[in-house]
């Protein structure tokens, strides 16, 4: 998930790290592909391309799915960087 800017600084384990939203997107796609490889290459690729990674995508999906009657939307992470919680919270809160 992208942070507010394109480049985000964070301190993890005492080291200052720069993280790009694009990095998270790529890692997330790799994870979705890996997890779904048992379904075959085509389905795995479809899962990889379905990983949401921008504020706009998240908001659009929420709007669309609430419009067809869902009571709850569960966002499943594909990367484990703790900042993902705060980024998603910023978008949906």
């Amino acid at each position: 998930m992208e942070g507010r800017g394109q480049v985000r600084a964070s301190s993890i384990g005492g080291y200052l790290q720069f993280r790009l939203g694009a990095d998270a997107a790529e890692c997330g796609a790799d994870q979705a592909r890996h997890y779904n490889q048992f379904l075959g290459a085509e389905m795995a690729e479809s899962a990889a391309s379905g990983v949401l990674n921008s504020r706009e995508q998240v908001r659009n999906v929420i709007q669309a799915i609430s419009g067809v009657g869902a009571d709850e939307m569960l966002f499943v992470p594909q990367v484990h960087d703790i900042e993902q919680v705060d980024r998603l919270a910023d978008i949906v809160g």
Binding site: G28, N53, I65, E72, L74, F75, P77, I82, V85, A89
Partner: protein, 214 residues
């Protein structure tokens, strides 16, 4: 609409303390539930053990399996584990259940992949009996602890086969499925609502959608 977030226990290599911090932040944030997927032959954390730890560091958010592959587990033991988690979390558990799609998970426990639907149906009956205190199996009495939620934890059933959706109508409080394709979800939810009607139920199913993010 409520917004839930999955725990990152599905991402191989994640550290335990990182998952617990994720749970604490989600509990302090705008999220309604903490989901987790299930798989045996993969590097993910075991869902009920993971959610038990998450429940211990949270007070509000609902631990939710999304979904647990029921037939690779033993029904009385699963009912007992779920009742334990419901009791420990103060009645917050949502038990999402399904049959999965991976034969290797069944091979790992010497299960029968081709009879998974039939076994799931039997398990649902056993678990409901255990939670209500009626009994368990083989003429044995019910097993405790008593769940906090009357009659057992909230149950969602996930999956796409017509038999699965019919089963949801007979046994579950809601359905888990559909997600980033709203049109597909709309068709699916219509089938789910029809299954509720076919089971003679007047209330609406609770509908939980899922999608991935990074």
């Amino acid at each position: 609409m409520k917004i839930g977030i999955g725990l990152p226990g599905n991402v191989p290599g994640v550290k335990g303390d990182s998952i617990l911090e994720w749970a604490r932040r989600a509990d302090a944030g705008p999220f309604s539930s903490l989901g987790i997927i299930d798989r045996l032959i993969y590097g993910n954390y075991e869902p009920l053990v993971l959610l038990s730890a998450a429940a211990a560091v949270t007070t509000r958010v609902r631990p939710m399996t999304s979904v647990l592959i029921a037939p690779v587990r033993e029904a009385v033991l699963l009912a007992k584990q779920a009742a334990t988690l419901d009791a420990l979390s103060g009645g917050r558990l949502t038990l999402g259940l399904g049959v999965g799609r991976r034969e290797d998970d069944y091979q790992a426990v010497s299960g029968n992949f081709h009879r998974r639907g039939h076994r799931f149906e039997e398990q649902l009956a056993v678990m409901k009996r255990v939670w209500s205190g009626e009994g368990s199996v083989n003429g044995l009495p019910a097993s405790g602890p008593e769940p906090v939620q009357p009659g057992g934890p909230e149950i969602l059933i996930g999956g796409f086969a017509p038999a699965t959706i019919g089963r949801a109508g007979r046994w579950a409080d809601g359905y888990l499925g559909g997600g980033d394709d709203a049109e597909a979800a709309k068709s699916l939810y219509q089938i789910v609502e029809d299954a509720w009607k076919a089971a003679g139920r007047s209330e609406r199913p609770r509908l939980v959608a899922t999608c991935s993010f990074a």
